[in-house]
Amino acid sequence: MNNSTGSTSTVQAAGVNIKDLRKSYGSNEVLKGISLTVEPGQVVCLIGPSGSGKSTLLRCVNLLEQPNGGTINVGEFEATDPDVDLNRMRRNVGMVFQHFNLFPHLSVLDNCTISQMKVLKRSKSEAAGVARHNLERVGLGHLADRFPDQLSGGQQQRVAIARALSMDPQLMLFDEPTSALDPETVGDVLAVMRKLAQEGMTMLVVTHEMGFAREVADRVVFMDAGVVVEEGPAENVISAPTQPRTKEFLRRVLDPTHIDVVED
């Protein structure tokens, strides 16, 4: 369970408000009018089969993908306003990628300080202080001087989380953060995310980790073929889905060895 009141963070949490979001690649419409709200301090997990548009939706929130229609509000920013100061908005939105995307030419510490120094204009020592604090938060303070390629996948992903946290974001986006990890390192990353959720961070998480979603998420959103099929409290959507497509998906994910006659 997370709580949005007992936050240890000094940064104000921001919410997300998405209305009728549409996105096409050529003639292929991948988001067909998505509406979704994340209250400040809430954790929302996006689940669904691959190709359902959940990663695209996440990437639209900080405009790594340009939507074709609809509106997105992130805290005080309207992301879809053509005049929005994108760089200023993105400072407030931490993003964690499936493949970490750490900067391989920089040490772990420099990965966490470069944007603080270049974007927030913090001094080198201040940035290093913030970076070390956040590396401690993800349990990797002792690896600050290593380079990314000297770390395991799970360690790299935790550094990526620390890097995002070092910008003091009001919202964190996670794009399948554990999908590229060895099974044995998944737990460490999920533990860090669970802790963040408990500290009151607003989180929008694309994940296949149903256990994590059930335990940590305030709400779960099931997407398929570019639309929201079902959403609600984690317990309801995962343990007692009402829509046939949700049931089918969860059955496959939770019981992958189950063999069934395919009818369609």
């Binding site: 993105r90 750490l102 900067f103 470069i114 270049k118 390629d149 990526a160 995002a164 910008m167």
Partner: protein
Amino acid sequence: MAMTARQRAKVSLYVQAGIFVVAVVAVILAVDWKTIGTSVFNFSKIGPMFPDIFLVGLKNTLIYTALAFVVGLSGGLLLALMKLSSFPLYRWLATGYIEFFRGVPALLVFIAFGYGVPLAFGVQWDVNIVVMVSLGMVASAYIAETLRAGLQAVPKGQMEAARSLGMPQWRAMISIVIPQAFKIVLPPLTNEIILLTKDSSLIYVLGLTASQYELTKFGRDGISSLGAGLTPLLVAGAFYLVITIPLSLLARKFESRSARTKR
């Protein structure tokens, strides 16, 4: 008696080595050593080339190459970024420039900037400027393509991660993408510098004063003044290796060092 595969491979290697030795011996026997000794390998008369081959020839070759490389690298980077721009006009301009200067002989570019441009605008250029502009412009066309490939080899996720941290496009380029691209292009870039070092010999068409001679011109001058046949040119040629071999070694050292810190 049948041979095993390993024995056959061994015999084949011996045969190849034998053919090589025979070929070398044949060439050595065919050479007219007496004539060659007086007109190409006549080292007894080249004393006067020293120490000026260092102080003038080698020095000027290094200066001309360095000047051209600075222009070539900055111009090449600009062209590479233009080629990757989302603005079509920039892409067309860069493509036109690159195709033109890659396709035209460097010698003609030297003549154009050494004689044509000064005549057209009524200016008198210092030889350093002519080398910088003409060789630099040719070099930037080649370097642009190398850098473009390097920039594109940096995974897209790097730019996305940098932008997600609030960096503007130019800042992400300078701090994240370009440093990684440079590690990728270091070997081909070394190649460009070596080509540039040798292309600097083309400035002989400009009519230099003695203090402006680079290695090749210095060697050609020795042919007419020393009476040792082609020997001075041979000596000058060897000095190019003095530049290019350490350059290769340096690049290799850089490469192995960055391989350690790169995924």
